[in-house]
């Protein structure tokens, strides 16, 4: 039954601990994760905005650079065609001078110059290739130049077999239109775009409207496939705006594409970067955050684990204490009811016993008379009467003790000096101790404050403890230590013997009324239960510790009166001279 109870309690504490653990972990970790997720989400949004804004600015700047570059080149050619006449420019040596002037001013950006008539024939050429009298009537840029005032062509291989593009302006002189064209060095132009590098994977390139590369790219990008084609389609709509999209490329990586139109929408500057690269900082921050969350979670879990273990341990302890206390409360209640019952019985028994004793005494009186003096059983009669008297006395003793137990003794509260009281009792017991070969040692803290209790009751308790100890050591002798000191406004009296000790089975019953281990007729089994009742009434405690073969320690603790308590009311009353009773 007990084992089952224990198991039930252990199960209860186990589930209590599990619930506490789960609650602590969930309550602590959930907000942490939610807050972190919220912050990370917000952070991601603002970081994305920041990255986009940065890329936008970058692409815009380069778009302006490239546009300016093209416009400048166009303006240079336009300036030349405006300044010089067709005749002057048709002179190849003059044209060569002009080319040299341009090259000395801008570097090797201008590769060559050429003057082309309306029929597409190049009438003059200055440059490293032998392109004099070349026919351009079929060339795309030439077709366009005939309709528009100036043309910047796409990159093409042309007659020379090298990638290049043409800047051409159309002029009219004497009713005849002619075209001045210059070839722009692809390498110089390419550098403008290739220099745009961000992070590990960010690079830029230019596409024409057909989706053909106008610059060299670092990676093998198929311009006509995938995302690039979309830019071409949407390019017109984008115009001056910067368009940012995110697409997955052929190898499955997410890429960011930032597009801007160039050359009035003919070309597109495309900047491409892996999303993971663009958001590398964010990813690092997220990694750190996750590590912190994981470590924090581990910390919380560990803390909760140990904390709940300790708390549940405490609870188990308190439960145990409570159980003991409950047992004690039951014990006290039992004692109180037994006490009342005992008092009633004692009163009722007193009278019949008194009558019996007196009647026996009467027989004894009559036996004294002459006529009985010769009776052969006279001595037997007398013995029987003595026995009745003795047993009657024993009954009286028992009823007296029962009535003491029911707290009917002198319970006047007065100032009691514990030192005086103990010393008095020790001297009282000295004779008995000597007889039992017991040494009594006292260790009493000097100047102990006075207790406000019933002197006779306290005497009864201490004397009972001393007598019990002396009885216990009766056979072999020993040492009896009586000590007293103040602990936290409580006076503690300890009575310790080194007698045979109390078996564990008896310890629990030691304060029960009528429980005695003394031989029949020697003890009533009421002494300690009376002590228990008295000390409880004083608001104190009486505890016993005992080890078989080592001895027994009774510890009585009685609280001291409150500091400002007034003199007890009944101390002035019934101060009649104590009489021998």
């Amino acid at each position: 039954m007990d084992e089952q109870n224990e198991q039930k309690k252990a199960g209860y504490h186990h589930s209590l601990r599990r619930n506490m653990l789960l609650t602590v972990i969930i309550v602590s970790i959930t907000p942490m994760i939610l807050v972190s997720a919220l912050i990370l989400y917000q952070f991601r949004i603002s970081y994305q905005e920041k990255v986009y804004a940065h890329l936008e600015t970058l692409v815009k700047k380069h778009k302006r650079n490239i546009d300016n570059f093209l416009k400048e080149k166009l303006a240079d050619i336009r300036f030349m065609s405006d300044t010089f006449t067709l005749e002057e420019l048709s002179d190849e040596s003059f044209l060569r001078d002009r080319l040299e002037a341009l090259q000395s001013e801008f570097g090797p950006v201008f590769v060559d110059l050429g003057v082309i008539k309306a029929n597409g024939v190049q009438v003059a050429y200055a440059g490293p290739f032998k392109l004099g009298k070349a026919l351009y009537s079929e060339a795309d840029w030439f077709q366009k130049a005939r309709e528009e005032k100036h043309v910047i062509s796409d990159v093409f291989l042309g007659l020379r077999g090298l990638p290049h593009f043409i800047v051409a302006v159309r002029e009219n002189s004497n009713g005849e239109s002619w075209i001045l064209r210059a070839t722009i060095d692809f390498v110089a132009f390419n550098d403008l775009v290739q220099n745009i590098r961000i992070g590990e994977t960010g690079f830029a390139y230019i596409l024409n409207r057909k989706g053909e590369f106008q610059t060299k790219t670092l990676l093998d990008v198929l311009p006509t496939k995938g995302p690039c084609a979309d830019f071409v389609e949407t390019g017109k709509r984008v115009q001056d705006r910067i368009c940012i999209t995110e697409k997955i490329d052929e190898s499955g990586n997410k890429n960011l594409y930032v597009t801007a139109s160039l050359k009035d929408g003919d070309w597109f500057l495309v900047f491409r970067q892996r999303t993971s690269d663009a958001f590398a900082d964010f990813r690092n921050a997220m990694k750190v955050a996750i590590v912190i969350i994981v470590l924090g979670g581990l910390g919380i879990t560990t803390m909760a684990f140990f904390l709940t273990r300790r708390m549940v341990g405490r609870i188990a302890e308190v439960d145990k204490e409570k159980e003991i206390m409950n047992e004690q409360i039951v014990e006290t209640g039992k004692l109180a009811s037994v006490g009342e019952l005992a008092a009633g019985i004692a009163h009722e028994i007193n009278n019949p016993v008194a009558i019996m004793v007196e009647e026996a005494g009467w027989i004894g009186d009559l036996l004294e008379e002459e006529e009985f003096q010769d009776g052969e059983n006279l001595s037997e009669f007398k013995r029987a009467l003595d026995q009745i008297r003795n047993q009657g006395r024993r009954c009286k003793e028992i009823t007296h003790k029962l009535l003491s137990f029911a707290r009917k003794t002198d319970s006047r509260v007065q100032d009691v000096q514990i030192q005086d009281l103990i010393e008095e009792l020790v001297s009282l017991s000295a004779q008995k101790a000597k007889y039992s070969n017991v040494t009594i040692n006292t260790d009493i803290q000097p100047d102990l404050p006075a207790l406000k209790v019933s002197q006779t009751e306290l005497q009864q308790v201490i004397l009972n403890l001393i007598n019990n100890a002396l009885d216990a050591m009766e056979k072999k002798g020993g040492t009896l230590d009586i000590s007293s000191q103040v602990e936290d406004n409580i006076i503690v009296v300890e009575v310790e013997d080194n007698g045979p000790g109390i078996p564990e089975a008896n310890i629990a019953r030691i304060f029960d009324p009528f429980f005695t281990t003394k031989p029949v007729g020697k003890g009533t089994g009421l002494g300690l239960s009376i002590c228990y009742g008295i000390i409880k009434k004083m608001g104190g405690e009486i505890e016993v510790r005992s080890l078989l073969g080592e001895g027994t320690n009774f510890r009585v603790s009685i609280p001291l009166p409150e500091e400002r308590e007034t003199q007890s009311v009944d101390s002035g009353k019934s101060q009649g001279t104590p009489l021998s009773a």
């Binding site: 007193n350 009278n351 009535l403 029911a406 009917k408 009649g576 001279t577 009773a581």
Partner: protein, 133 residues
């Protein structure tokens, strides 16, 4: 009143008041056998009535009686016959009432059940004290 308390035949005249009839009777018999002149009565009322007709040297009064409180009887005794010594009998644990009785002029008290010799001695002591008074 002084002439009233005379010792007849050397016997002390004792009024024994106890509502426990068996106890009162046997105690009276035993005291009588020891040269006392004991009259047992069993109620407070009887006691109050009898002392109007008879003189007693000592009264042994049980404090706990059904018809009348022993202390009340004591008060009446002390008022009417202050010379009569009163020994109270009290149950164990009711010493408080006995001490109160002493304040009202009782000679002393004994705890019940008491030894005959004890009571005898107490009666003699009370009688001596009264005779010398």
């Amino acid at each position: 009143m002084p002439g009233k308390q005379k010792v007849r035949n050397g016997n002390i005249k004792v009024l024994l008041i106890d509502d426990e009839v068996g106890f009162a009777d046997i105690l009276a018999k035993r005291l009588n056998k020891r040269n006392m002149d004991v009259t047992p009565v069993y109620t407070g009322t009887e006691a109050v009535q009898i002392i109007r007709k008879q003189d007693f040297d000592v009264a042994v009064l049980d404090l706990k009686m059904e018809d009348m409180d022993g202390i009340e009887v004591l008060k009446i005794f002390k008022k009417a016959y202050p010379e009569m010594a009163v020994i109270m009998l009290t149950g164990h644990g009711s010493e408080q009432a006995a001490k109160e009785g002493i304040e009202f002029g009782a000679f002393d008290y004994l705890t019940k059940p008491c030894e005959l010799e004890e009571l005898l001695a107490k009666i003699r002591e009370a009688y001596r004290k009264k005779a010398h008074a």
